[in-house]
Symmetry: D2
Subunit: 480 residues, 4 copies
C-alpha cells in the first residue's frame, strides 16, 4: 500500500479549499523563486497535496521557462538546489489540496505548456461547472488530455483563442467568456504576468507591490509574507496584465452580480488576510458576536476549537461578557503522515491531536465555538473530551449555518448524504454530538460578516447556486 494511504483521516472531519495561487513580476530583473516559495508557505493552508513553481527570465530567450513541481508540502518539495535552478524574474506558484482520487503527479500545477505563441504557465484556484462540456467539445476537435484538472481545459481555450487575438490577455478574456464556474487565475507568458478572476468572484485574488515588483496572491497574508504592500483586490471579472510597462486592467467582463465564497471568511482564509477589503479576523469576531446575540446561554467560560474557532470565541466573549479561556492544546507535530490507531484505540487517541486543559474546564459550564460541523464525528469526540475533563455543561455554537448542499466552486463540501445536517434536525445533531445546547449562525446574518455586502455565495447552506450546478459529479468521468 502506498504511504499516503496510511495517512490518518479519521480525525480530520474538515472541509478543504482546493488551491492557492501566487505570482510575481520583478521589473528590476531579480530572481523571484524564493519569494514565490515564501508566498506558497503563506498559502499552504489552501492546499497540501502538491505544489509547484514556474519562472521566466525576461532577459533570456523567449521560451526559457523553468518549472519544478512535486507531491507534498512546500517544505518537502523544494530544496535549496531546486530553488536555485529556478532563475527568473517572473514567477507563478501553486498549492493544491489532496483529495483521495485524483491525487497524482500529473495534476500538479502550475501547468506549463507550449502552444503556438511559445510557453505558458497557468495556476488556477476554483472549479468549473462546465468542464465536462468544454472537454467534450475540445475532444471532438482532437484535443488530448493528460491531466484531470480544469486548468488544462482553460489552457486549451486560451491556446485556441490566441489563434485569433493579438495578445495573450485578449485570449484569456475570450476564453473567460466560455468558462462557467469559479476561477482565480495567475498566468505567466515569457514576458507577462496575468491575473484574472471569474465574474462572480468566488475565489479571492489580490494585488500587492514590493519595490519595483508586482505581486498577485490568493490572500493578502501572502503579500505580508513576502514584504509586499497590499494595493487592491482584483475585481470579480477583471483581467490584470503586468508587463515591463506596468499594470493594465480590463474590466469589460465585470458584472453586477457577485458571489464571493462566504466560507472563505468563516474558515478557509487566514485570519490575517483581508479579502475584498474585509478583514477575515473581524468577520469571525462578528460571527461570534452574532452567536452570542442569537444563542445566549449562561456559562462560565467560552472556548474556541483551535485554530479557526478562536476568533469567533473571542467575539462571543466580547459580546456576552463571558470569560474567554483556552481549553485545548493542539499538537502541531501531528501532520499528514500520522500513522492511524487501530479501531480499538480510537476512542482514547483523539487526544493525540488535541488535549484538554483539565483545570480550565473542570466544573465549568463551557461554551465551545467551532466553525462548522460536517459529519459530526469530530464534534462528538471533542464534546466528550470536555465532559471527561469535568465540564459540567457544553454548549456548542457553530460560526456558520448548517451545511446542506455540496459545493461546486472550489471546495470539497461533500454531497448531501454525507452531511449530518442534511438528514437531521438541529436537535438531533445536538443529541448526536452530546452537547447541552447547539446553535448555528443564521443564514440571514451572513451578510453582517462582510459588512453588509450581499454579493456572496451561500449555496452550501441554502442551495441557491449562483450558477446552475452540473447534473452529475464532475470529476469522476475523466479520472483514472
Amino acid at each position: 500500500m502506498d504511504k499516503s494511504a496510511q495517512i490518518d483521516t479519521w480525525i480530520s472531519d474538515e472541509i478543504h479549499e482546493e488551491c492557492g495561487v501566487f505570482g510575481i513580476y520583478d521589473f528590476d530583473g531579480n530572481d523571484i523563486a524564493l519569494s514565490v516559495y515564501y508566498g506558497l508557505f503563506a498559502l499552504q493552508h489552501r492546499g497540501q497535496e502538491s505544489c509547484g513553481i514556474a519562472v521566466s527570465d525576461t532577459s533570456g530567450p523567449k521560451g526559457s521557462v523553468r518549472s519544478y513541481k512535486g507531491m507534498g508540502l512546500v517544505n518537502e518539495v523544494f530544496t535549496p538546489e531546486s530553488l536555485e535552478d529556478l532563475k527568473g524574474n517572473i514567477g507563478v506558484g501553486h498549492v493544491r489540496y489532496s483529495t483521495a482520487g485524483a491525487s497524482n503527479r500529473e495534476n500538479t500545477q502550475p501547468l506549463v505548456l507550449n502552444y503556438v505563441k511559445g510557453t505558458l504557465a497557468l495556476a488556477h484556484n476554483g472549479n468549473l461547472v462546465n468542464a465536462p462540456e468544454l472537454k467534450e467539445g475540445l475532444a471532438y476537435t482532437g484535443a488530448i488530455f493528460q491531466t484531470t484538472i480544469d486548468s488544462e481545459v482553460i489552457a486549451y481555450l486560451i491556446a485556441r483563442e490566441r489563434l485569433q487575438t493579438r495578445s495573450v490577455e485578449e485570449a484569456v478574456k475570450n476564453a473567460m467568456l466560455k468558462l462557467k464556474g469559479a476561477y482565480s487565475l495567475v498566468i505567466m507568458s515569457p514576458r507577462k504576468l496575468i491575473g484574472a478572476r471569474d465574474p462572480f468572484g468566488f475565489r479571492p485574488l489580490c494585488i500587492g507591490k514590493r519595490g519595483n515588483s508586482y505581486v498577485l496572491a490568493s490572500e493578502s497574508a501572502a503579500l505580508d509574507t513576502v514584504g509586499a504592500d497590499f494595493v487592491r483586490d482584483v475585481e470579480p471579472g477583471e483581467v490584470v496584465m503586468i508587463n515591463q510597462e506596468g499594470i493594465h486592467s480590463d474590466m469589460s467582463m465585470t458584472q453586477p452580480k457577485k458571489a464571493k465564497c462566504i466560507f472563505e471568511y468563516i474558515y478557509f482564509a487566514r485570519p490575517d488576510s483581508c479579502l475584498d477589503s474585509v478583514s477575515v479576523y473581524n468577520s469571525r469576531i462578528m460571527a461570534g458576536r452574532i452567536l452570542a446575540q442569537t444563542y445566549a446561554v449562561e456559562a462560565d467560560i467560552v472556548v474556541g476549537v483551535p485554530d479557526s474557532g478562536n476568533a469567533a470565541a473571542y467575539g462571543y466573549s466580547l459580546e456576552s461578557g463571558i470569560q474567554l479561556a483556552t481549553a485545548f492544546v493542539k499538537n502541531s507535530y501531528v501532520g499528514r503522515t500520522f500513522i492511524k490507531p487501530k479501531q480499538s484505540m480510537r476512542e482514547s487517541s483523539v487526544k493525540i491531536k488535541l488535549n484538554v486543559l483539565r483545570d480550565v474546564v473542570k466544573d465549568k459550564r463551557v461554551i465551545m465555538i467551532d466553525d462548522s460541523i460536517v459529519r459530526g464525528t469530530t464534534s462528538e469526540r471533542i464534546v466528550r473530551m470536555l465532559k471527561s475533563a469535568g465540564a459540567k455543561e457544553v454548549h456548542v455554537r457553530i460560526s456558520s449555518p448548517p451545511f446542506l448542499y455540496p459545493c461546486y466552486f472550489g471546495t470539497d463540501v461533500p454531497s448531501d448524504d454525507q452531511l449530518i445536517a442534511h438528514n437531521n434536525t438541529v436537535e438531533k445533531i445536538r443529541d448526536m454530538i452530546g452537547a447541552d445546547s447547539l446553535g448555528y449562525l443564521g443564514v440571514d446574518r451572513l451578510s453582517e460578516l462582510i459588512e453588509g455586502d450581499r454579493g456572496y455565495c451561500d449555496a452550501c447552506f441554502t442551495g441557491n447556486y449562483p450558477i446552475e450546478p452540473p447534473k452529475e459529479d464532475i470529476r469522476g468521468e475523466y479520472d483514472r
Copy 2:
C-alpha cells in the same frame, strides 16, 4: 552542503529541552509500539533531532529486544512497517533535540546494548556534570565509547554494578551513586521496565496506568495521549521497577534538597502537563499575574507571543483587567527544513513565521508577553512588527527572569557571552528591542509559580547551581 545545514536558524532564538522519555509495560502481552509512538508524538516538543523505540516481548526468549531509531521527527522516522516490526509488550521511546555539533546517527536513543546479563535499552533526559570524569575513569579500565551521549556512560556504570548486584534495579541504584547531574531514566531489561530520577529531580518523570499497563513519561500530557490515567510523579531520587508482579518503589536515594527545573514550567513543558503535581498552565497564568502586579502599565490590550506567551498573557489580563487579544498568526507549516532567506530579505521575511493582525493592534497600546529573551534579535523583530502594524506603544513583559548563566542540566541555555542580559541592563535591552517599557519576572517570585515550593533550580537566572558545574565545556572533548 548537507541539507540540514540549509535549515534556517535565524528566526529561532529559542531555548531547547534536550530530551523526552517514555516507557510502557503491558501485562496482558499486547503490542505497545504504537502506544510508544503516540507517546513520543506528545513529547516531540522536547526533542526534534532524532527518535527511537525499543521493545521487548516478555513471552519470547530472553534477548528478543528489537529497536528502530532514526534522525528526524517521529512522523518522519517511523513508518507503518517499522512499527509493525516492533513486536513486544514492553517498550521505551526517546526524542532528542538537535544541537549543531553532536547531531548524528550514533547518538540516537534508546541506547540498546548487550551486557553480561542480556540486553538493556536505556532512554535518558538530562545532562551529567561529571560525565568527563566518569568517562575517563571507565576508559582507564578499558572502556570504549561509540557515542558522545551521557547515556553510554550510565549504561557502562549499570553494567559494571550489575556484576556485583542481584538485580538490574539494584545496579541502577548503585550507578546513581556515581552520577552527578540531571537525569530522568527509562530503562528496559527483557522482563522489566525501570524508571529513575536524579535526587534533585531536575527533569520530570511521571507514572500512569492504562488498564493492565503501566506507563512512564516525561510529561503527563503523554499519558493523556495514550489514554492512560495519571498515577503520580516519580519522586526525585526514586527508582521504580515494573515487572510482571506489579510496580515496586525504592526511595533510598531521595534527599531533602530538590532542584526541579523552573523553566520547565515557564517554557519547556506542554501547558496541558502537570509536573510534580503542579499544572504548567496555571504556573504560566501565575507568571502573568505577577507581571501585572509588578509591572503594571496603562494599555489597551495584552497579547501573547505564540505559543508559550499565551497563558501568561491570559494571566496578565485576568490580573490587570486589560483586554486579552490575539495579535499574531503563526504559520505552523514553517518547519525545520525551511529554506532561509538571503541576508537582504531578512527584515521583511520575519513574517513568514509570524504575522500581525493589523486591525487588532492598530492605534493600540499593546502589552506583549513573551516567555524569555535569549539573544534579543527575535524580540526586536516582533516589537518592530507590531509598531509597523500601527501599535502606538509596545510594552514587553517577560514571564521569566533574565538569563544570566548557562545551564548544565539538560537544556541549551547558552554560555554567558551569548546572553543579552549578561552584558546589558534591562534599560539597555529595552532600548535594543525597541520597546516602550520592559519588565521581567522577579527571581524572588519564582516559587509562586509552583505553589510556594522552594525545591527548584533557577541557576540560569541566579548562578546558584545546585551541583558544582563542570570547569570546562562538557561536550566538546569527546565529540567528533
Copy 3:
C-alpha cells in the same frame, strides 16, 4: 547542484539507443504488471533515464487505466506496492534514455491521455524528423504541448484521426501517413493492444506468445525473459491489433524500401536477441570474421572490450585462428550515480570501471576489438591501459565503420564536429589513440552482418539518409 549532475560522464564515450517498448495482453484476465516489469528489465539497456508502465483491466469500466512512471532504472522506480496497484490484463511499458537536456518527469512514457474515445497509453521508440512541422501544424489549430517528446505529437495525430475513423487502429494507420521518421509503437486502448512499426523499419519490434497472452517487445530477449515464445517480427509498415478475438494484421502501409538500423546489430541490441530473423550474436561474430579477413595482423591474442566487443573478438579468433583471451575485468557496480574523480585523478581512475588482467596481456601482441569509436577518448585510455600492463603491440579493430554523420532516427550519434572520424583520417585516429594499427569494418561489408539483406540504414557511416533529415536540430526549439 542536483544529484544527477554529479553523475560521471567522462568515461561513457558511448552511443545510446533512445528507448525500449513492451506490451502484453492476457486473454485469461491475469494481472500482467509483473511481466511488464520483467520485460522492461530485459530492455533496460535501451534506456536508463526513466521508465513507466500503464495497464488496463478489460473486465473493468472503460476508462480504468492505471499508470506509474518515474525517473531512474526499473528497479529504482518500481516497488512491490506500485506494481501491486497496477491491476490489469493489458499493459504497456517503456524505458527511456537520459539525454542531458530533456531529462525530466514530464517526458516519461508511456504517455497516458484521455481523448474523445476514452483513454490511450502510448510507448514510442524512435525519432520523427518532421516533429517540428507537425507540432507547428497542430499548434496552429490550438494544440498545447506539455512534453517535448515526439510521442505527444503522435498521440495528437491519432486523436484527430480518430474523429473520422471507426477504430483506433485505423486512426493509428492514418496518423502514420503523416509521420516521417523512425517509430516503433506500442499503444493500449482500454480493450486493445496495438503494435506499429514505421515503413522503413528503423527500430525493431517483435511478437511473442505465452500461453493465452500476446506480447510485443523491442527485442526478442524480452520475450525470453517473460517466458514467451518468439512468434515473428512486426513487419516494417505493419500495424498489428490484438483484442479479445486474437491478433489482426494490417500490411497496407508496408513498402519495398527498408532501412533497419544496422547499429542495432553492431551494438545496441542484446546479443541474445534476434531482430528481423537475424541473430545479433551471429552478426557480431560475422563482423569479427570480416575484420580478420580485411585487417589481418600477426598477434598472440585477440581480446574484446566488454561487453559488446566480446562477440566480434570471438569471430575474429575463429576466422584468424589467433587465441581468444579475456583481458579486461569490468566492475558492474559502477553505475550511473558514480561520483566523478577530480581532473587530476582521471588518468589513474579509468580503472574504476575497467581493469586489465596483466598476466594475460604482458609481453603479448594484442588485437583489441571494440564496437565503435565516437570521440576517441575512451579508446585512447584503454589502449594506454593495455600498454601499461605490458602489451607489446595493440592492434585496434572496430566492428563498425567510422561514424561520420549524426543520426536522426532514434539514437544519439552526435553531430559531425564531435565525431573523431569526421575530421581525422584513420591514420590520424590510430595515432591519437596510440594503437599500433587500426582497422574499421568496411561499409561495403555491412550487409554480410545481416545475411546479405540490403534493407538497412547506414546513414551515420555514409550520410545516405533514407529520409531527408531535418534542416536544424530538432529537439532544441521546444525544450524548456
Copy 4:
C-alpha cells in the same frame, strides 16, 4: 514488510564473502576520501549490505576523526556532499555482506570509537571462532556491546591492551594473542594507519604505494583502481604500522602454518587480483585445466557460467582443445532490490537474470563450467535452460570440490544439512541437476591452483579446520 524483505533471493544460490577492507595514508596531506570510495567500489563484490568510511586529518587536533556509514551499496550510501565532508589524509573503508539476521545499521563498519588514548577506527574482514568466549570474558568485567560484530570485541581488546602498552600497534599485537580465527584488519588512529592479518592468513591483505601514499587493501585490484602500485602482501601474522616516518613491519606473530582460504581463488576474489603473489585468474584457468585432465568428455563446446565460471572454462578449453564459447547473457541490471516473481512464474523467469544464446548451444554437446554447487537449485535451472535451448548433452564441471562442511572463517558456506553434497553422492547430484555427467575438482589437486603452496584452508571441503571450530552457532546468541 520492509523493502529489503522483498528482495528476491531465490536465484542467488551463492556463497558470500563477508567483508572487504581498505586503508590509505597520504603523507602529503591530501584528502583521501575519494580514493577510499573508489577502493570500496573495487571491493564491492566482497560485501553489499553496508559500507562506511572514516578519515582523520593528521594536521588537525587529535580527535578529529570523521566518519560516514550506511546500509546499501557504495554508490547508494555516498553522495558528493558526504564525501566532501570527510576531510582528511588518512582513511579506512569497509564493505559488508548482507546476511538476513544481523543486517542493521549498528553493525556497519568501520567501527569508530573513543578510548583512553583518543579515537580509533577499525575495519575487519573475517570471523573469530572465540568471539563468544571473549565477549563473555569482557562482559564479566563490565563491557557493554552495542553491535553484534566481532570488530567490537577486537576493539575492546585493543583498548584494554593499550592501557599497558606504549603504542597502539603494540596493543594490536597483544590483542592478536587472544584472537582465534580469521581477521584482516585495517585500523586508524589519529596519526597512524595499521594493517594486521591473522597468523593463518585466512583472509587476504596487501600493501600498495601511490606517490607519497601507502595503501592497504583486501585485494590488489583495489590498488589498481586507485592508481597504486602493488608493493607486497601483508604476511600472515604480520602487523604493519604506517606513520609519518614511513612503514614499519612486525613479524613476531608469524607462524609456519598458514591457512589461506582456497575459495578466495576459486570464487570470491576478483580475477584481476593477485593474492599472496598468485594470480586469481591463473588459479581459475588451472582449475579448468585440471577438470579437463580428470573429467574429460567428448563435446562440441565448453562454456562458463558467468561471471566466475569463465576463466575455468577458458582453462578447460586450453587443456582439452574443445572450442570455448559464450552461451549465456547476464542482465547486469538485476540487482539486490529486484521484485521476485510469484511461485507460478519462477520456472520461466530464471531468464530474467540469465539468458541463453540459442544458436550457440543448439544441437551441441556442451561442457558447462561453474565454480560451485551449494544447494543445487540454480545448477538445475541452468542445465534445464541449456537443454530447452537445444543442447544435446550438458556435462557439468565444477571448479571446486563439493562443499561438505560449514565455514567459520569469514564466509557464509552454510551448515551441513543445507549442502547438497552433504547428503548425496555425486551421481545423485548429477541426476538431481539433470546433467549428463558431473565432475568436481579433486581435493588433492587444490594446491595446484596456488602454484603448489600447501598453506591453504580447505575445511569447507574436508572438515580439516586449521583452528578448532566453535561448538555452537556463533552469531545467534548475541544477535537481536
